[in-house]
Amino acid sequence: MVRLLTGHDKPQLPETHYLDNRIFTDEAIFREEQERIFTKTWQFVCHESEVDKPGDFRCARIAGKSIIMVRGADNVIRGFHNACRHRAAEIVRDESGTARMFTCFYHHWTYGLDGRLRGVSKPEGYEAVNLDKSTLGLVPVRSESFAGLVFVCLDDGVEPLREFLGDIVKGFEEPLGTIPLEVFHFHKAVLKTNWKLWQDNNSERYHALLHVANRKTMPWVLGKTSPMKLRIEAHGHSGYWADGGEAVVDYAKGGYSDGAEGALPGMRGDEMRVINLFPDLMINIRSNVVRLDRMVPLGPDRTLVEWRGLAVKGDDARMRAIRTRQHNLFWGPTGRNLPEDVLAVESQARAMGTGDIRYSIIAREEQLNPTDDANIRSYYREWGRRMGKSPATLA
């Protein structure tokens, strides 16, 4: 009898070159990731401009926790768990705002912008027990910033942010960190997919084939070589960009107006850089505008994605309109590429959910051209190291 092909046969490839698709669907693996990855890595929360002035605050969810970032009167950005020390109501119930102090809405305990418990209502009721306010401040979360990006880490044992980022910063520190930027665009969606599939989508250029806009403006993706090269750095971080030579995006070929005007520091006209920080921050830079993706995994097949657009603070109306157009053309919620990317990763999640195809193939080797899978392999090496299991064999 002829043996039919099954989707559960191991690929005849090195173990580094394929993935077991259960890492995208399994509930227990998802919970383990929250524990071993999201609570043990630096997590991007917001851009500095979102807490621009003393008293500005911004809320975020990380690994199931609710966090408040707030700029103090001393201009320091601090992070706190969003829970009152009295009976644990949420201190802040808005996504963002400006406060002189935080007053819990339930029984009116008040905290300073530095987190200290400043006052309790009806204090005479606590006199008998001598309540010590100095031990009842908001619970702090470790926070550090780099190039305008504010990160927090839920684990005190983790290395400092700068060490965690390592050499990948050379891709973004000049355009993001040497000129004041601000968030001009924010939107979010709950994608019906696993969070890593969204990261993979941003990491691999092979899928430029999916996008009519990329087929037209990045004709080199279909060729053998490319001006852009993959950069594989420590800790699972990677990116791709060109060091010079021809423009990597040919807007004119696609019939679009070019994106060269107002290039950010260190960026050439019609340049594009893609940077993927482990585990879940994506920094995409088109000459004059930046897109940041951050994720809040909600379940193996549900992922909240937040998209931010960054432009130069103090742009005049004309320049801001140019950056906004450039951002929206491919990356806006109604842009040319984003809707297609979402369809692709949701389609993967549906098919993987059936369990019919056990393995994904990440086997392209192309001298670090962006359609090489080397960056994805490096990402999953780091995933395996942190999870204590191979993403190919789950052993």
Partner: protein, 155 residues
């Protein structure tokens, strides 16, 4: 019928046609509802960053290019249907007017499941040229900011 009444009817008809032409994907007819100098904007207010955002702003040539390429895109297979309220029209002079119209846009998947996609309002500026009212500025303000399925097709 007074000419004012005729103008009012004409503008209301343009708004209804806008929605109907998108539902049936008659894109070149949809573009012809714009004045030669007209443009389309999709805007939303973010409570997170506390500012207005332009999600799309296109003049007629950019709209034409985008809609000409619809067939080359991979798309959400759901069909869309607008439900449009009665436009509230104010004339600024004989040849210009403003109109505000609430709308909702539903999507129905090929399997027949319907869901609300976007709710918002049209905040439009009209101009009358050669006896016809067209959009000088067709501004779609979306209340919905968490989209269930993305599309670059105008709303």
């Amino acid at each position: 019928m007074s000419s004012h009444q005729e103008d009012l009817e004409a503008i209301r008809t343009v708004v209804q046609r806008t929605a109907a032409l998108l539902d049936t994907e008659q894109f070149s007819e949809w573009i012809s509802l714009f004045d030669a100098e007209g443009s389309y904007e999709l805007a939303a207010y973010s409570t997170e960053i506390r500012r207005w955002m332009t999600w799309q702003l296109s003049d007629r040539p950019a709209l034409k290019q985008m809609l000409d390429e619809v067939g080359e895109h991979v798309r959400d297979p759901a069909r869309r249907r607008h439900v449009v309220g009665m436009p509230f029209v104010e004339f600024t002079d004989d040849a210009t007017a403003r109109a505000t119209t609430t709308f909702s846009l539903f999507r129905t998947t090929p399997e027949g499941t319907s869901s609300l996609y976007i709710v918002g309002s049209y905040e439009d500026q009209f101009i009358k040229r050669d006896g016809a009212w067209r959009y000088a500025f067709h501004r779609v303000v979306s209340d919905t900011r968490v989209l269930d399925a993305f599309t670059h097709i105008p709303v």
